[in-house]
């Protein structure tokens, strides 16, 4: 066997975001995201320790408005403080990546406990239902590829992107084949180059307006988080302004094909096991167990959690039985996919404060 590293995914995540062209890391310490901050301090061209998470996001917004691509890493208590500013950055259309290492809640909960309990919160993170691209890692390959992808999406869609992980997926040390570290193309930031006065929210055909950093010497740049028209003038609720707000959702949803990322191991079975984050590992083993025992089962690991890619419904619609395993109280992603009532054949496996085992997923498939 060739050479392998013995490393955690935090190292892969930071190296990949830096290679992809993210150039500023603003940090505020919180377990279990501290390794990300530590590695960033060694790897990023600029690293600033912020005095709190609200400042973190505001500084990031300032850097993004000035043409940089900032990154931070946090966990739920920090995210809670950031949310208003994430909404602001989304409305202002500022690119940035927020790495969220989930931990066991509620509230302060258990800092060193694992969980995937922030899914519902992320689904509704913006007032009004405007999705924020959210990519979830489940293994070292994801830690590498999705981290780079997050930076690219933030740049292309001109918006905040959440890179979702958890205590287990950022702190566990494991052997990693260097082959997962495929070449990463750095983002080539495209700024407005026209001669006509810059209209900050005039979209191109993909629904994304080109960015121009504040401080530009040729054009006036206006940025705002209040309801505004294409020129960034505040409006109460003119049709142009409301259309502009609607575009914030449309640009993220319309382009989801560019970042619909999942693993799908179809076994021509009537049952599919669905899991993300750390539970994806248990799901892989559950499916292997089932197959070894002669029971067919397919495996679906969503990586793009939000916006939910339409393709997921097409795939999951092929199965009579859908078993969704996740580490939160009620099965948050299952509720998002299938509603609180669910549908016939949709089953959940949930756990709080412990890992879901391959055996219990397999048992739910067999039941």
């Amino acid at each position: 066997m060739s050479e392998r590293y013995f490393i955690d995914n935090s190292r892969l995540i930071i190296e990949a975001t830096a290679r992809a062209g993210a150039d500023v890391f603003i940090g505020y310490p919180i377990t279990p995201a501290n390794l990300l901050y530590l590695y960033a301090s060694q790897r990023f061209p600029v690293v600033l320790p912020a005095p709190d998470e609200i400042t973190t996001l505001q500084w990031m917004a300032g850097y993004a408005a000035a043409g940089k691509l900032p990154v931070t890493a946090t966990s739920y208590p920090g995210l809670a403080l950031m949310i208003e500013s994430i909404g602001m950055s989304h409305m202002m259309e500022l690119p940035m990546v927020i790495i969220l290492a989930q931990r066991l809640g509620p509230a302060t909960g258990t800092a060193t406990g694992g969980a995937t309990g922030d899914i519902s919160l992320l689904h509704g993170i913006n007032s009004g239902g405007y999705p924020i691209p959210t990519l979830c890692i489940s293994d070292p390959r994801d830690a590498w590829e999705l981290s780079a992808k997050a930076v690219h999406i933030a740049d292309h869609l001109r918006c905040p992107v959440i890179l979702l992980a958890s205590k287990e997926t950022v702190m566990t040390v494991q052997d990693v084949d260097p082959a997962v570290m495929t070449p990463i193309e750095p983002v080539r930031r495209r700024f407005y180059t026209g001669d006509a006065p810059y209209r900050p929210y005039e979209p191109e055909s993909d629904g994304v307006p080109p960015l121009l950093p504040v401080g530009d010497t040729r054009h006036q740049v206006r940025i705002t988080a209040s309801t505004h028209d294409r020129s960034a003038a505040l409006q109460h609720s003119t049709p142009e302004a409301l259309a502009n707000s609607r575009r914030l959702a449309e640009k993220v949803e319309k382009n989801v094909g560019d970042y619909t990322l999942f693993d799908w191991d179809d076994d021509a079975a009537d049952t599919v096991v669905v899991a993300y984050d750390v539970t994806a590992a248990a799901a892989r083993e559950a499916v292997a167990l089932l197959r070894a025992g002669g029971r067919k089962a397919s495996l679906f690991i969503p990586k793009t959690l939000f916006p939910v890619p339409p393709k997921y419904f097409e795939i999951l619609g092929r199965y009579k039985k859908v078993v969704i395993a996740e580490e939160n109280l009620q099965g948050q992603y299952r509720e998002i996919l299938f509603g609180k009532r669910g549908r016939d054949g949709v089953r959940g496996v949930t756990a709080v404060g412990r890992l879901i085992t391959p055996e219990e997923i397999a048992a739910e498939v067999r039941s």
């Binding site: 500013s85 702190m171 209040s226 590992a281």
Partner: protein, 424 residues
Amino acid sequence: MNGKFLSTENLPFCKGCGHHIVSQNLEKALSSIAGLSPLDVIVVTDIGCIGIIDKQFTTHTVHGLHGRSVALAAGIAMATEDPKKKVIALLGDGGATIGLQHLMEAAQRNINMTVIVHNNMLYGMTGGQPSGLTPRGFKTPIMPDGKPNIGYDLCKVLHATGAPSVRRLLALGDFTADLAAALAVPGFSFVEAMEICPSYGVKFNPNRKLDDIAKEAGIEIGHWQGPAREPYRPATHDAPASLFATEKPIAARHKAPLKERYAVVLSGSAGEGVQSAAEFLAQAALSCGLHATKKGSYPVTVGVGFSTAEILLSPKPLHFTGISVPDAVIATSADGLGKVRGLIEKMTQGTVYLDASLEAPATKATVVKHDFRAPLGGRSAVLVALTMLLDRAGIMPTDSFLDILKDSSLGKKIDFAKLRQKGG
């Protein structure tokens, strides 16, 4: 007037609002700076009446959240390399109250920016509620008898925080020179412009003049200078090395007989090398071509109590990293045993390596007791126990572990003759 930087005609404020006067003075102050063009200026506004002024400016404008304009402007200022650019945050006393820490952080770092707090002693936009800066006795709709406590003295706070230039003035008449002086400061400058809001301030405090209010509340008007400091520039690493520059991949140079997944739990006391011993074991496994995972757990105060590590080894790729019942447990101290007692009791097979000082829990596992702490002290007890485990378990050659140790920072410190104990 259609100014070069800011049109003060049709300002969106109530008649008689102090914001008019501050805006007119700001236009004059900016125009007085030789060679300054509107595109050299970035105005960041807060929420509140003053925050709706953006459209009057011919400069760059950024309009964000309530109370956060100073932090947002600080981000822009830190990212802006040209020191001639002027980053200006405009906010009210409400924004300064909710965002006090942002002011202190910008002052303390001496970020190259100017903050103008329009202090009309209440929240105008929302109906005249008192802010942190409202002085004692000042009446507002929700406190018609007057505020019972004194207001924050922002100027003193920021002066004490190290701001090079802090001013408080009454927003009456022409104070262009004060604003121009603040804008000329290299680094952080702060202006608190005291005004009165006709809609709520005048209404609830009739016949009180601005200067009387300030005087009666003991609010000083003045300019406080701090020690001259270089404006803050974030440090940059121009060509940071890859995180893999120092990380060495491990080549398979041994062979391991292990056929199935094998779970080991190491548990000892904080500071006794449990986590690094676990890493050495896992690295040794990689050097045998095995797959490995490692998780650590310890109390939040990392220097006391237990330190426990879970290691999984397998000839096949590992996905699920949970351990319900381990194949082997090492406990080298009472703290360590306390953490894994329940696990040991659940074991129906496998081996428990227990320091001789410890009482064995009830278990069906084989218990090997040995004085692991004696040969090389408590800090190497786990290494001694692991060496014994590898000698006995037949999962992978002990030499693979010793090779990793020899190559590590401990290589020269450990007496390898004592490491390997016969026993059990």
